[in-house]
Each structure stands twice: as C-alpha cells, then as structure tokens.
C-alpha cells in the first residue's frame, strides 16, 4: 500500500537500468543519506560515532570489498585483512613521504596499492580453483603481516611497526574530531557503494556472476576469464585498501600490523556470510550485526548478577554464539540478512493484502 509501484513505467531503457528503479526506493535513499550526512553528526554522541558508527561503516566497506570477490565473482579469500593492511600502510607512507599530498588522494592511492597487491595474489586464480585458491590468499595474509613487521621502513622505523594517522585535513578543514572522522568515512563508503552497485549491474558484474556460477561454462560462452577474475581482485583490493586506511586512521588512529591478522579476515568473511553473499545491502546489515552483537552480549551479561560470567567466559560465549549463528544462517537462510530484508520489502509491497 505504501510501497505501490503502480504507474511507475520505464519509458526508456535508461530509466530501466537506473540504480533504484522505484521512486520509493530513491526517496528512501535520499532520506537516508540526508539523515546520515546532516542529522547524525549533529545528534550523535562521541561514543556512538567513535565506537559504533565508524567501525560499522568501515567494516561494511570491507565486507563490500570481499563480497565483490567472493559473493559476486566466487573467488574464496581469507586474505582480506592483508589488503586492508596494504591500504593502511601505503596511505601512511604516502602521507609521510610525499609532502603536500591531499588526504583524499592519499587514501585513494592506498587503495590502488592494495589493488595491485590483490591482483598479484589473485594471479594464481587463473590456474587454480576453489579451495586450492585459499592458499594464495592465506599466503598474502601471512606474507603481508610478516613484511610490515620485519621491514621497519614501512612504519618509518617505529618500534613494533606501529603507525599513526596522518593529519586528517581536507582543504583546511580539520576532520580529527569524531563528527569529522565520521563524515570522512561516510563519504568514502557512500561513493564506493554507489560505484560497486553500478559495477555489479554492468556487464562486468554479470560476467562475475557467470564465473561464480561455473567458470568453465562462462569461458565457453566467451567471457574472458583472466580479465574478469583479475578485475574482481583489483576492485575488491581497492575497496579493502580504502577500508583498511579508514580503519587505521579514522577509527583506531594508531595501528600495528598485528591489527590486520587472520581473525580480521575471518571477521570480514563472517560479515558477508551473515549479511548475504552476493548482495550490496547485506554488507551493511552484516556489519551492523557484527558490531552490535558483542555490545549486546556484554550488556546482557551485565544484567546477570556479578561474578556469574567473567570476561574470559564472555569471550568464549561470544565465540560460541558467533559460530552457532554462522551455522544457523547457512542452514536456515544461506542468503543471509539481505534475504530477510528482501522478504520484508516484498511483504510491504502488497500489504495489507497477502499477495
């Protein structure tokens, strides 16, 4: 009833191809963007911005990067954190060694470096498939972490490889307060999400899905496998690199190579499993879930009388709950939270009728 599409006809192919075909979707998006850009920085407390919204946005972006590679192009990866690290360290070094480089350019170039690393470790995907590909991305994960720890040039000879954020200034505006960092992150997330959404609707995106569903068949109908797979690695690496730079500089402020270890890769993978493989909106739902669940669990355990659950047990409990959720989602709803959201929308379209 509120969501009726009656009377909305596409008069032109271009209208049919636009990102959000329904008027309601567009208005909802505009409203959401307005809210996120104008209202949230004004009303959000520092705790909300720092501890919830910024990590949520960055993790959504990281999920988006991995989802393009795994969810759309079907290349399994356990090395997301490595490419995030490349992005963060490249941005740091660019800011350090290229005087006068604007911050936005620095972060984008960090993404380019991560894309290059991702393509390099994606090259074996042309020869090996499926689980065997895990070895390549895991090699990336361990090698990159080792490289940034061992070669102190990357962290400007600081002890234990810790890097700190470059000054967050854009055109003279200081963005180092929570609202500024939030807006910087949000800007990148919105821009890259729109880019990704466009790409997956393009020919390239359809090629990715064909390769995912069966790459031999895709090759048979004339899809250039090498280019398609490597482009997936490149774009995924770029987005992960930007996410890494944002994670290091707008969320944490200082970071060491250990901050991008294998468990971070798993975290990103869990985001896309819970959110939904092969979905753009799913990354945001999954990231929200991953950020809020630990907070919710610790709040719940705070309700219990003190001493029943200590911090160590809480961590174990969190692991068990995560694991059970992963298995549960895979069994009940393999397409994740995005699918639930989709069903809700379908219901809203015809409400109050059943169909």
């Amino acid at each position: 009833m509120f969501y009726t599409e009656a009377g909305q006809f596409s008069g032109h192919y271009r209208a049919d191809r636009r990102l959000f075909r329904l008027r309601q979707d567009r208005y909802a998006l505009y409203a959401l963007l307005l809210f996120a850009f104008a209202v949230v920085p004004a009303i959000g407390s520092d705790y909300w911005l720092n501890a919830i919204l910024i990590p949520f946005l960055v993790l959504s972006l990281a999920g988006l990067g991995l989802n393009l590679l795994t969810g759309y192009a079907g290349q399994l990866s356990l090395g997301s954190a490595a490419f995030m690290a490349v992005g963060a360290f490249a941005t740091y070094n660019l800011a350090l060694r290229v005087p006068g480089l604007p911050l936005l350019v620095g972060i984008a170039l960090g993404g380019v470096f991560a894309a290059a690393a991702s393509v390099l470790f994606g090259l074996p995907s042309l020869r090996i498939k499926g689980f065997y590909l895990l070895v390549s991305t895991l090699a990336a994960q361990f090698f990159v972490q080792w490289l940034f720890t061992k070669v102190s040039w990357f962290s400007n000879d600081s002890a234990s490889g810790v890097i700190t954020a470059p000054p967050l200034r854009i055109a003279g505006h200081d963005l180092s307060n929570p609202a500024g960092r939030y807006l910087l992150t949000l800007g990148f997330v919105v821009a890259l999400t729109l880019l990704a959404r466009n790409v997956v609707k393009s020919e390239l995106g359809r090629n990715w899905m064909a390769v995912r569903d069966m790459d031999t068949a895709a090759a048979v109908i004339g899809i250039p496998l090498a280019r398609t797979k490597l482009l997936a690695f490149a774009l995924s690496g770029f987005i992960l690199g930007v996410a890494g730079a944002l994670w290091a500089f707008t969320y944490l402020g200082t970071v060491e190579p250990h901050g991008f270890d294998l468990s971070r890769s798993f975290q990103v993978l869990f985001i896309i499993i819970i959110g939904g493989l092969g979905s753009i909106a799913g990354n945001f739902l999954g990231a929200a879930f991953i950020v809020l669940l630990p907070i919710g669990l610790s709040l719940l355990s705070g309700l219990l009388p003190p001493g029943v659950i200590d911090a160590g047990q809480l961590e174990n409990l969190q692991k068990i709950v995560f694991g059970l959720l992963i298995i549960g989602f895979l069994i009940k709803e393999p397409e994740g939270l995005a699918r639930l959201w989709q069903q809700l929308r379908e219901r809203a379209r015809v409400w109050p009728l059943r169909y």
Partner: protein, 293 residues
Amino acid sequence: MDFFLEVLTGGLLAGVMYSLVAIGFVLIYKASGVFNFAQGAMVLFAALTFVSLVERGVPFWGAFALTLAAMVALALLIERAVLRPLVNRSPITLFMATLGLSYVIEGAAQALWGAQVHGLDLGIADEPLELGGMLLSQFDLFAAGTAALLVALLSFLFNRTRLGLSLRAVADDALGALAVGIRLPRIWAVVWAVAGFVGLVAGLLWGARLGVQFSLSLVVLKALPVLIIGGFTSMTGAIVGGLIVGAGEKLAEVYLGPLVGGGIENWFPYALALLFLLVRPAGLFGERAIERV
C-alpha cells in the same frame, strides 16, 4: 653436508607432525566432500579434554578412552546438527559451516576447561639422540613412529574391513553408494569419529610439544599447505606433503631465513604450496576434477 642432512632429517620428522593433522582433513574430505576447517579445533578440543581429565586424576588410558568417547559423541552431534541439514549444498557453504563449527568447538572447549596453558607429558624425553652421526630429536622419532602406526591402522581399516569398503564406496561415488544401500549419514558419523581419533593423536603429540593451549587450533594453518601440496583426496599425499613442507620449512629457515631477517615459517609453506600448485593445480596426488558444462 652433515649439517644439511641433519637439518633435512629434522625437517622431515617435523613434517610428519603436520601430516598427522592433514590426515584428519583427508579422511573427511574424501568421504563427505567437506573441507573441514574445524580439524584444528578438534585437535584442541581433544587435547584439552585429555589433559583436563589427566589433571583430575584419571589414568592415561582411561582419559584416552573417555576423550575418544567425547570425540565420537562430537562426531555424531556434528553429523546430526550440521551435515544433515546442509546436505547437497555447495562445498563453499559447507566450508563456511565448518568455520562456524571451529568457533563453536574452540569456544566450548575453553569455556569447559578454561583457557590456561596445560603441560602435557607423554613420558618421552625431548632429548637429542645420536643416530649415524646425526643429532635427532627423540620426540620427533616417536611422533614419526606413531604416525606410521596410525597410517598402517587406517589403511587396514580402509582396505581390509567391511566398513572400509563402504567408506571407499562413499568416497568414490556417494550417490552410487546410497543406491546399493550404504547408509550415508552413518558413514559420515564414522568418518568424523575417525577424524576425531586422528585429531586426538595429533593433539597429544602437538600438545606435548607446544603445551595444550589455544594456539593448538592454529596447527590447522600449518596443515593447510601440506594438504594442498599433497592433494585433498590422498592420504599418501598428506604424508608426502607433510615431509615436503617440513623439510622445505627447516631448510628455508636455516639457509634463507638469515638473509631476510627470519620469522618466515608463517608464510613460507604457503609460498611453497603455491609453487607446487602452479605446476599441479590439484596437488601431487589429488584427483583432477573433470568439468562438464
């Protein structure tokens, strides 16, 4: 030259320890097509349960039997709660389910038995032994012997028993096996239980070496390149892969490590595995998949 041989032999023996973990993978992958990331968690669970029982005064073999029973119960539970609902799903889905499973098992093991480091003494001195002019670790020799015994036991099970026949039938063609009346769920439970047993043996040996603690579940990351070099479907592959990784890792550590500043043991096996894969994309002994459109 002597030094080279000593390093090589030490590496080969250490590689057997990796093979032990990899064998558990191969068993499960062959019979149910599941890439079981939770094998490391099972190793941790088994070792932690065993040590905690021993610390509570249960004698060695009693603890062994009880832990084995726990592993079988775990296998039955996994078959019922994870594998059965996920039947006919894509291999990637099953892999991710085992990722979730590894979280559950790790969390449960530590919630149950605590997260502190336990020492485990199997009564074998970890002293070097001189053999033919080379210094070899006594413990490594014992581990290699155990692995050989285990492999002999498993090949007997697979090749000489009725159960092994049905296991091989399922590995060959699950649908065909189902058609001749083999109960697939039961076979899966058996295979996971056997993998649990292998995990227990691996857990005891690794636990005696490293101490029983959380990092034990990370041996899965050591076993992965082994598995990939050998191929997912071959037990021989797991052994050979383990030897290659063990020897390669030790040699690289001694000869290459000083050049680049050391600490390369985390990623070197993976680089090695990549090299092998570029030549043989399904591992040394893996079955090459035939794809039809």
